[in-house]
């Protein structure tokens, strides 16, 4: 990746400064914030930003809109949890194993399914995720391991046990998911500016033209599927360790899959910051409405999700990202004119000093 020439492109400078400031704020935040609920909201915001970013590696970069990504989250969550409950293996290791398992499944499923274009692919992903969910729901025990079906798995409480991925306070969870989010964002940015990134964008925009230029579309899509599955699977483990309870609905359900789609679309598919923006915008709405309106109005936040999605698709198809980018112009111009004014003041001061020196 080439280093950006800041003088040539002030917009890039602005972007880098903004991101650096936000990351710094995120890192420092827990030092000043004690409110547990606020921390929880932020953890969930980062979590869904992470998951949506992982989804976006396949959907936004390769153009295959999966509506069944919960399958990979569930695979990661169940594997790390079962490894822990049955054999006491640390969920940190379980996270890696679950991530790899999700990668394998993602590639195996992708191989026949990427032939399908557009909505056909989306439908098949729904079916796959539902098949997995239905299987786990109706299975109490498999190969001697307790799955507990629809009842789900409760993680044994170990208190403050960092090597077992459990903490007393929310703060370590906050930093863990923040690091994960930065990792997936970095990978996404690196891929986007690399050869696979160019190839994936080409496939997404026009697969036939890409193949006529020597791009092996099937292979590239599997590459994207592997990356996406890996990160999504690891996210499932984080969820399990934070919430301490998993069941087929929460980690394999269509609600989770749809959530990732909606957040990414609202924020902006195909960009690295899009899904993050989407989560920052939508997840707090969800958590807050859940708090104030309770379980009697369980779907209230979804009304907002649906409404925002409709508005974004109709009027801002590139997502909130598009709106943010239109602010870049005015801000860089303001900055440039402010510096210009500063230089004018300096040169006036300098002229005044010269004059007074001359008079002496």
């Amino acid at each position: 990746m080439e280093a950006p020439d800041l003088a040539e492109d002030p917009k890039k400078g602005l972007r880098i400064a903004a991101i650096a400031a936000l990351v710094l704020a995120a890192v420092l935040l827990p030092l000043g914030v004690q409110n547990i609920f606020l921390l929880h909201i932020l953890i969930m915001v980062f979590f869904y930003a992470y998951m949506a970013s992982a989804w976006n590696l396949l959907a936004g970069f390769a153009g295959q809109l999966s509506f069944g990504h919960a399958a990979f989250a569930g695979i990661g969550a169940y594997i790390s949890t079962l490894l822990f409950i049955a054999w006491g293996i640390s969920p940190w290791i379980g996270m890696a194993v679950g991530g790899l398992a999700a990668t394998v499944v993602s590639v195996l499923v992708g191989y026949p399914c990427f032939r399908l274009r557009g909505a056909y692919y989306s439908l098949v992903t729904i079916a796959f995720a539902e098949i997995i969910r239905l299987y786990v729901t109706s299975t109490q025990r498999v190969a001697g391991i307790e799955l507990k079906g629809a009842a789900g798995l409760v993680l044994p409480l170990k208190g403050q046990a960092p090597w077992l991925f459990q903490f007393d306070s929310k703060v370590p969870y906050y930093y863990t998911i923040l690091v994960m989010l930065l990792a997936v964002a970095t990978v996404g940015t690196w891929v986007k500016h690399s050869k696979p990134g160019y190839y994936l964008a080409a496939i997404r925009d026009n697969q036939d033209a890409a193949e006529a230029l020597g791009v092996k579309a099937a292979r590239m899509k599997l590459y994207a599927a592997a990356l996406s599955g890996f990160f999504t699977g690891m996210g499932g483990t984080f969820y399990a360790q934070y919430i301490m309870f998993i069941d087929p609905v929460s980690v394999l359900g269509i609600d989770l899959s749809v959530n990732l789609v909606v957040i990414s679309v609202i924020g902006g598919i195909g960009t690295v910051t899009g899904p993050v923006l989407g989560s920052f915008f939508m997840t707090p709405l969800s958590e807050v409405t859940r708090l104030y309106l309770g379980s009697s109005y369980a779907g209230a936040h979804l009304v907002l999700y649906g409404l925002v999605l409709m508005l974004v698709v109709a009027f801002m198809p590139r997502g909130l990202w598009e709106a943010l980018v239109t602010l870049e112009g005015p801000i860089t111009r303001w900055w440039a004119s402010a510096r210009h004014r500063g230089m004018q003041v300096d040169s006036l001061k300098q002229a005044a000093r010269n004059e007074s020196r001359e008079r002496q």
Partner: protein
Amino acid sequence: MLLQNVVTGLLMGSVYGLVAFGLSLLFGVMKIVNFAHGAVLMIGMYVVVSLTGLVGFDPYLSAAIGTPMLFVIGYLLGLSVEPILMRERSTGPISVLLWTLGFSLFAINIVLIIFGADYRVVESFVSGKTLELAGVIISLPRLGAAIVAVVTFVGLYLLLTRTDVGKAMRATSQDMEAARMLGIDERKMCRMAFAISSATTAVAAGVLVPFYYVSPTVGDVFQLKSFVIVVLGGIGTISGCLLGGLIVGLVESLGAQYLNATYAQMVVFLVFVVILLVRPMGLLGKERE
């Protein structure tokens, strides 16, 4: 026992087929995957429930009133969707899919807030009554539903083959470019497809209410089944919807009897996946080169 299951399955299957028709029409004519299909069914059912509750009509009468209402709602949906579809040739259908997803989330949860999550049950003049034929007990509301479904299919067949609108739709579904060159207005096709789709779904809603529990999420399961039926039977064919519906109805009925209900659902999805991968044009559809 077996005959009982077969009959129940076929009766329910014909209604499934009718529900699936709306989805099939939209995909066939406008290449739109309507993720709000279940929501439209749900709206239809709540319209019937409300009219019956407010005015005291028999649900079948409410359905007769509700169908034109849903026609209008469908027309408005088509109107909203049309600029999104026309915006960019290549990404139009996916954007519409996402928009209908948004509408679905919005509608289902608004209904949830207004009406609550409780199941509604509505009685009609045939509720609870049964008929016995050759040792098989047939529930009258289900029989009535199946009859109405078949009659509606006949009506749809006439609509698609004898009316100008119907012929225009068939032309558009075969080749949109050619249809455009013949002077067929795509935007009108979009609105009419949505309108007819919603009206048909309203009919299905009307005949389901007398024997099916109504809740805000009632549409979800019908939507998934509709996708399976459309893929199974082939897109854009009436006979395909009916055949696909009957198959799904049978599998469901027999599966619930001889297998775990969850496993029966799994089987349906597995068949769905296999068909999509092996023969995406469905059992009766035509190969597209």
